[in-house]
């Protein structure tokens, strides 16, 4: 078995503009996903928008700088994630393709294998 991180990407403005009914549909869809995936889901969370993120770096002089906002300024941002345990990529693709965000036009998911250090 191996672990995979599913990153949910999308246009934050479109997420913010969702109607209460759409939000309810989305929440129900994630509930159904949880139920279907069962013990394969090790963890899964929705994230606050990237505008609320705080980024830390070090400047050339070696001083810590704190910036308000995400590491990368892009239209699409990570809005949530699942940590999944599965036998192989096909199994994860099978699960992830059921996610609500895969079928919404502006969003999608990225599957990243977690490095296994044994």
């Amino acid at each position: 078995m191996a672990k995979y991180l599913i990153l949910i990407y999308g246009d934050e403005r479109q997420w913010a503009a969702m109607s209460p009914q759409e939000m309810q549909e989305r929440d129900e869809a994630h509930g159904a996903f949880y139920a279907a995936a069962g013990p394969a889901v090790l963890d899964g969370q929705e994230l606050e928008p990237a505008t609320i993120a705080t980024t830390l770096r070090t400047d050339r002089a070696g001083r810590l700088t704190t910036t308000d906002g995400p590491f990368l300024e892009t239209k699409e941002a990570v809005g949530g994630y699942y940590l999944i345990e599965a036998a192989d990529l096909d199994e994860v693709i099978g699960l992830a393709s059921q996610l609500y965000e895969v079928s919404a036009g502006h969003s999608g998911v990225e599957i990243r294998p977690v490095v296994d250090h044994g």
């Binding site: 036998a87 192989d88 990529l89 096909d90 693709i93 599957i111 294998p113 296994d116």
Partner: protein, 589 residues
């Protein structure tokens, strides 16, 4: 090494490579190691088969040898290897149905997994399943070998680290995964059938690899109609391979091909497969394409082709596989059924199609209909456009010849059949083109040096340059010594009116010393209104399309008439370009 052993190893390489590697990969669970052991087994076969003779079952011998070697390596390196990620094996659940338990299928489905890019799928399939070397795969897709090596390494790493399973997909995913594999096979075939660039029209290794893959898939999954359809298509197209080039290497269109050279054995095999594929289920994309190829294969001559049937098949294909390229082919078939004007009308809406904006076949198809409608100037433009869009030398040579043909047509004949003038009274200058295997700069250097013009002269009138020096700008004048029996010796002053380094040079001649027009009784010499221009269009780094134009549209009418609108110069212009070509060839050694 005996010749028999070398031949047997080569044959086993073609026939058994995929099987040996796939069976070894199931043991090693590591594609790199499997590849290494497979290569070692073939190397060892050369030695051993020379000494002890060729085994009864070479494939089995190679598989055993490769797997034994893999076992040795695994035993030796087991401690190290335990830390490395491995291929995900088949789960112990019930095996695939329909007898799909074959290592070669596991390998090909893994190489063509949709999580890999199409480039990576093609590269892996050619390297691992077809056994082409990395250098060969790199050459086929025109990338440097290190780039291809990196692409293959990255793809293998993804298979292992993302855990793409080494197995035949389950029944509910089988159809879509077979389609992905067939997409790769089709792409390999089309890349080989008309190589996008280079000196050869066909890349035989790719065509053979694609047909080999399709045959293997058909053997392993005989009930899949889509596979039969694709194999039928490849065989029916490949049956025409020997007639696609003339003895002199010129591209032969389907209409010009010697049908007696078509491979009837491949045609009957293709037709049988197609019949089988069509009987079993609603037609697939490849089966319909194969049906179109079969209509051509069964027509005794181009004129006897059943164009109505072909248009009908394209209509079906558009339903199954909507694509601008299919629409283009349908439009061409409409033109062949209903005449060039209908074809041109059917092509017109496609001009706005962004996907075809850089597709040379659209320009070539328009050019051909325009040529048949005798709209010469527009046909020439369309041929030039098509030339700019292909890098295959054989196709370019064909298009250059066609361009030259339509440019050779005299002035004033650019009218549609109804006789309505197309472009007012505009007279087309006379032009001749030739593709010369030399960089534009080398050709330009010759053209800009009047001292070398005598070497190029196709008219026999040039005697030498009076001026000593090269032309370097508009406004330069160079004087040439001439001889024309009625006049004797005389001179011409050529005024440079066009100059763009390495691209374009043109001049207007003016009668000089000794020319009858400069005799005291005549008016002040004028430049007559004649113009000679050479236009150089690079065709890759090492070749150039040279177009020589003679324009006398500003000359007095009687002068034009006496020269038949400039047509009298065509043969000497053709001669000039031949000499220029020969001169460049000599200079390059």
């Amino acid at each position: 090494m005996s010749a028999e052993a070398v031949a047997a190893v080569a044959q086993a390489h073609r026939r058994d490579w995929a099987h040996v590697l796939a069976a070894t990969a199931r043991l090693t669970r590591d594609l790199d190691l499997a590849e290494e052991c497979t290569q070692d087994a073939y190397a060892q076969a050369l030695q051993t088969w020379t000494q002890i003779g060729i085994p009864d079952r070479p494939g089995a011998w190679l598989t055993t040898t490769a797997r034994n070697r893999a076992r040795d390596v695994l035993r030796r390196e087991s401690v190290l290897r335990r830390a490395l990620p491995l291929l995900v094996p088949e789960q112990s659940a019930p095996g695939p149905e329909d007898g799909l338990d074959d290592d070669r299928l596991r390998l090909v489905f893994t190489c063509c997994h949709p999580a890999l890019s199409r480039d990576a799928q093609v590269a892996l399939t050619l390297r691992l399943v077809c056994g082409l070397s990395t250098a060969e795969v790199a050459r086929a897709f025109l990338v440097p070998e290190p780039t291809m090596a990196a692409r293959i390494t990255r793809a293998k790493k993804k298979i292992t680290n993302a855990r793409i399973p080494y197995r035949v997909p389950p029944p509910d995913h089988l159809a879509e995964r077979v389609s992905a594999v067939l997409g790769v096979v089709h792409l390999i075939f089309t890349t080989g059938h008309t190589a996008p660039t280079g000196a050869h029209l066909v890349r035989r290794d790719l065509v053979d690899s694609a047909i080999g893959l399709a045959r293997m898939l058909r053997l392993l999954m005989p009930n899949d109609a889509e596979i039969s359809g694709l194999l039928a298509l490849l065989l029916l197209i490949h049956a025409r391979a020997d007639s696609r080039l003339s003895a002199t290497g010129r591209l032969q269109l389907l209409s010009e091909q010697d049908r007696g050279r078509w491979d009837t054995r491949l045609i009957s095999e293709g037709v049988a497969l197609l019949t089988d594929a069509l009987r079993r289920q609603p037609p697939t994309r490849y089966a319909v394409e194969a049906a179109i190829a079969a209509v051509h294969a069964e027509a005794p001559t181009w004129q006897d082709t059943d164009w109505a049937e072909i248009v009908g098949l394209y209509d079906v294909l558009l339903q199954l596989w909507p694509s601008p390229v299919v629409e283009l082919n349908r439009a061409v078939a409409v033109g062949l059924r209903d005449g060039p004007q209908a074809g041109l009308d059917a092509l017109t809406p496609l001009l706005a199609e962004p996907a075809l904006a850089t597709y040379g076949y659209l320009s070539a198809a328009r050019a051909d209909f325009l040529r048949q409608l005798e709209q010469w100037a527009q046909a020439a433009d369309a041929y030039r456009e098509a030339l700019a869009l292909t890098d295959n030398d054989v196709e370019r040579a064909f298009l250059t010849e066609r361009l030259s043909d339509v440019q050779r047509v005299p002035a004033g004949e650019d009218r549609p059949r109804g006789g309505v003038p197309m472009r007012g009274d505009e007279r087309e200058p006379v032009a001749v083109s030739r593709r010369i295997a030399a960089p534009a700069a080398d050709i330009f250097r010759i053209l800009a040096d009047p001292r070398r013009h005598t070497d190029l002269d196709g008219s026999g009138m040039l005697r030498g340059a009076v001026s000593d020096g090269v032309v370097s700008a508009v406004g330069d004048v160079f004087v040439m010594r001439m001889h024309y029996p009625p006049y004797g010796d005389y001179e011409m002053s050529n005024h440079v009116v066009e100059y763009e380094a390495n691209r374009r040079i043109g001049w207007r001649p003016e009668p000089g010393r000794g020319h009858p027009d400069t005799a005291p009784a005549t008016a002040t010499p004028t430049r007559w209104g004649h113009r000679w221009t050479y236009e150089l269009t690079p065709d890759g780094p090492d070749a150039t399309i040279v177009t020589e134009t003679y324009d006398c549209s500003e000359a007095p009418g009687d002068k034009q008439a006496s020269m038949d609108g400039g047509r009298i110069w065509i043969s000497s212009m053709t001669g000039t370009l031949e000499r220029l070509d020969a001169l460049c060839a000599r200079e390059r050694g």
